[in-house]
Every structure is written in C-alpha cells, then in structure tokens.
Amino acid sequence: MPANQELPQLPAVGELLTSGLDKVLAGRTEPAWLTDNRRNAWKAFQAMEMPFWRRTNLRQFSFDLFRPTFGIAEIRFTGQEGVIVRDMQSALRERPDLMDDALGVSLDARPNKFTALHGALWQDGVFVYVPKNVVVEEPIRIVYRLPEAGAAIFPHTLVVAEPNSSVTVVEEFVSDDLSDPALCIPAADIIVNDNAEVRFLSVQSFGRNAFHIGSQFVSMRGKDSRIWWLTAALGGRVQHLEMEIYLGGNGSHADWLGVNYANEQQNLVYAPIIRHVGLHTEGSVNFRSVVDDEGYAVFDGLIKIEKGAQGTNSDLRDNALHLGPKARSDSIPGLEIDANDVKAGHGSTSGPIDPEQVFYLRSRGLPEAEALRMVVMGFISEVVDQIPVEDLHDRVVDLIAAKI
C-alpha cells in the first residue's frame, strides 16, 4: 500500500463526540451484535476518564484531534487449504460464526478509554483461522501502517487455532517519522484450543511521534495448548500495552519474550500478566529492556496464580541495561499466588554496561562504538535471536543497531 494513497477517514474524534456515532454506523453492514458492541463501547468511551497510568506519559495527549483512518492493513500469505486469512470486513461478512465468541476478548480484559474507543470504531484487521489438525508452515505476515500525522488507526488481529493445529502470525506496526502525533490503538485476540500451538510475533517499530496504546489477549483455553509470543517495542513516542496470557487449559504452556528499547524521549511500557488457571500450566516470561538518552522503559509484569491452579510452574523476569545517565527503566515484577502446590519465581536486574566487557572487546581491535554495539546486541540476543523469520530477525537487528 503506497503511503500517499487517499485513505477513508472519519472526522476527528472531538467532532464525532458532538455529531454522534450513528452516522458512522449507518454506513456499515455488519452483524447486529457487533453494532451493539460498538454502541456500548462508544458510551463507555464517553463516560470514562483518561486512565491514570503512573509510568505512561499522556500529559500532552488528547483524543480530540485524531482522525480515525482506515484501510491500513496489509496481508502477506500465499494461502493454504482450509486456512482462513482475511481482512476483518470480509471475514465478518463471510464467517461471523467463527468469530463471535472470540472477537474482542482483549477489549474486555482490562477495559479503559482506549480499548473502548477501539471497540467503537475499529474496522481494519486480520482474521486468521486454522482448522483442526492443520499445520501452517508459512508465517502469516501482517503489516499495520500509521499513514500520517493526525491519524488514528485501530488494527485488530484475531487468531483462532483449532485443536492440534499450528501457526505463526507476525504483526508489524510501522510508520515514517511523523511531524505531529498519530495514534494506534491495537487489539489482538488469540484463541488456542486443545493441543494447538501458536507463535505470535508483534513488532512495533513506528517512527517518531506515534502513540501505541492498546491491549492484547491470548486465551489458552485448550488443554496442552502452547503459545510462543515475542514482542518488540522499538519505535514511537509512547507505548502502553496491556497484555495477558490466560492459561486456562490444563497443561497449557506459555513462552513469552520481549525486547523494549527506549531512547531519545521514548516512553515504552509493557504491562504483561500471565494468569494461571488450569492444572499444571507452565509460563516463562523473559523481557529485556535497553534505555538510552532520555528514554524510559517500563516492565510492569505480573504472575497471577488463581485458586485451584495446582502444579503451576512460572517464572517472570526483566533485565534492563542503561546506556545513558539520564535514561530510566522501571521493572516491577509482581507475584500473586492463591494456590499452594506451585513453583513461581520472579526477578529483575538493571545496571549500566559492564566496562570490563567493552575493554575486553576493544583489546581485540574493535573500536569502542562497535564494542558497545556488540555488548548491547549480546544483551538482547537471547530474545532477538529467537525470531524464526529471517527477514524480520534481520530487520529487528538493523533497527536496534541503528538505535545504539
């Protein structure tokens, strides 16, 4: 999609608040339940206060000026028998029956003014459906593009993996550097059924001035289901992602990796919850944060072990590396346990780069800048080197190298 193409837009949110949502909804043909959801979400949006997130800087933020903009999703997938990979509007016309109990779980998890606005206005997105026993080898690639300053986009990814299926879904959030703020409110609902496996990669590499504030939810409702989720925050001005892996199915398993790199004046926040509900579930959360300049990275993570979740084994960590004296990071790894037969660990480290490492590399002839870059890349490589899609791995490495 060329960046300069004319995209369908609504009036700015401030104007919509006066003119109402009805005109917008009148132009759409979609299931009645969805229209109801939108009306409720719009009401909620109007009633709600701005969320107060202590570590997320929304001081100069206002919804009023953003113009909701559509047609910003791009899909790359060759196709496979039985597998549905469709833009949301087509999917809602063709197979709403496969979507209705899954769509929007992320919006209900921790509702706030942002998720409400998404619920009212969203239109773009991708529906991925993998039938029973189907293994999809080719990664399904989605790109969401913030087209211009002043735009607001509401990309929505919905993945349903039926029993014994396997799939890799990659979503990338991109834009140019923008002269003024633009807003992305993403949502992702991922449903993993019995013995299915989903690999989900979500890479945010917006240019300057993008706000990325949204919600992602993985429901591991299937027995012995597996999720491998890698998330990267590299771009934008402010990010605040509330995320959850709900380990409902007995024996379900989650591997969660993240890399957060905040420099210049970036304020990038991850708020992941791993919720253990079924018996004998396993979770491993391993994030890396790097901060430089006046960047501020936040890891506000929680292991929640519900009553009855016996046999849980869970671990949550975030290690942060500080490159500049003015850069900051906060790691708040939390633990709430309401079951007794469990194993759970959590921890975080933070500190500057080790000068002995830099000296060691320099003593072999690497110039200082290159030695620094190598130590930083080493610090995040445990996460980044696991990206299973080669061009994406290389792009992430290049993006990070450019920030060092």
Partner: protein
C-alpha cells in the same frame, strides 16, 4: 623497522597507589621473554597497562612499539598495531558468539580508513576455514565457535579461547598472562604446542609470557627470564633462572635485593 616492544621507566598507579615503580624491559621481536614474580608483584598490572585498561594510570615512563608511543593509543588501536593480551581472567560476554566476535575482530584489523568495510572484510568461506583449522590446532570442538564468549566456560576452556583468539588475530607481539593456570596437564601440552606452532608459522612474533611455573617453560623455551618483585624488575637471566626460582622460591632474591627475607 625495529619491532621490539620497549618499556622505559614505567610507573603505574591503581586507585592512587603505585604498583609499578619504574619498569625497564625490552621484548625483542621474535624472542620469547618470561616474567615471573610473586603474587601481587604487578605482573597483571603490567599486562593491563600495555593493553590500555583505563583503570591503570601511567604516571611516568614510555612504551614504544613499531615507532609509536603505545601509551597515546586507544586499546583497540594497540590491538590493531599488533599487540595482543591473553587475559589472566577472561571476561564473559553473553549473547556474543565466539565466531561472530572473531569475525568482527578480524574485520576491524583489516579495515582501512576511507574504504568500504565490505571491501576489506574477510570472505566468509576463508574465515570459516581459518577458524576450523585453528580450532583443530587447539583441540577444540567446533561447537565452541557457536558458544557465547566465555559464558559458562570452564577455567581451562577460557584459557584455550584466549589462545584461539591469538591464533585467529595473528598479533606480532603477544602478552600472555598466566595462560597456563587452570589448565590440566593434557590441556597445558595442547595449548603450549598450539602456541609453539603459531610461533613457528610467525617467527617474527614476540612473546611476553607471564607465569608462575616452570612447567610451561618446559614446553615454551624462553630466551630471557625476568623477575618482577614489588613493581620492579629485580633480576634477569636465561632459562636457568626459572629453574632456580622453581627450586628455591623468591626469598633469596628478596634477600639479595632488599637485604632481608619477608
């Protein structure tokens, strides 16, 4: 060109305390010099100072190599000039694989001012071949190349990796700080043989061996042995001096130099 490493009246402080108190030492091109001395006498301080570690402050003296005042150079410039230090305590760097690091280091040596680094970089096939050969030379498994730099390495593996790096970077002057410590008897033989064959291929390479033990010198024959004590070179001699030290310890020298035993 004279490629001796010349150290003149070198004084070095660490945290405001003088450790080296006027070292005069010339390591001749192509020669093997050994430095022996009691714990804490300043051997590693000398090695780190030559490599340019920022903690070691030179308060007086000069170090010359290949016509350059080494003390004016950054640590990486010294390395690219041909100086190499095998560390007594090598540093682990998580996430950086041995192979990637060695390739980057070799390319840093090959880089030329104003030339596209892709033009001077070592071709991948050539690098792989060289790496395989040198791993074999040191009896190291190929899987070492994929491991992270010193991360989780045993003491002996770290020392081998230092010598592997030396074999790959082909310095013209190598300082080895207790490369023999931590090696078992077989590993010592393998590493010493490795050093000898590197030296055979590059007879012009100068070596400064820091060691406590004669057994390394049984394999690698020094031309000159220096004794470092309390920040000064107090004695120099041939290989027989190392034997004498092994037999009698350091007290007799201390007595002669300072006039009393410790």
């Amino acid at each position: 060109m004279n490629n001796d490493l010349v150290i003149k009246n070198l004084h070095v402080e660490v945290d405001g305390q003088e450790i080296l108190k006027g070292i005069d030492l010339t390591v001749e091109q192509g020669k093997i010099h050994a430095i022996m001395g009691p714990n804490g006498s300043g051997k590693s301080t000398l090695a780190y100072t030559l490599a340019g570690h920022p903690r070691y402050e030179v308060t007086e003296g000069e170090v010359w190599y290949k016509g350059q005042n080494v003390l004016d150079l950054e640590p990486d410039e010294r390395a690219r000039l041909g100086l190499f230090l095998a560390f007594q305590y090598p540093v682990a760097v998580a996430g950086v694989s041995v192979a990637n690091f060695l390739r980057a280091a070799i390319n840093a040596h090959r880089a030329e001012e104003g030339v596209d680094p892709r033009k001077t970089a070592i071709p991948v096939a050539e690098f792989r071949k060289k790496l395989r050969e040198r791993l074999q030379l040191l009896n190291m498994d190929e899987s070492f190349a994929r491991r992270y730099l010193n991360e989780g390495f045993s003491g002996g593996e770290k020392k081998r990796l230092e010598i592997l790096q030396m074999a790959m970077l082909e310095p013209s002057m190598a300082v080895m700080d207790e490369t023999d410590s931590g090696l078992d008897i077989d590993a010592l033989r393998i590493v010493a043989n490795g050093i000898n064959s590197i030296k055979e291929q590059r007879p012009e390479m100068g070596i400064l061996l820091i060691t406590h033990y004669q057994r390394l010198l049984n394999y690698i024959k020094p031309d000159v042995v220096h004794v470092l004590m309390d920040g000064r070179i107090v004695r120099e001699g041939g290989p027989e001096l190392a034997l004498e030290l092994e037999e009698k310890g350091y007290d007799w020298i201390r007595e002669e130099v300072i006039g009393h035993a410790s």
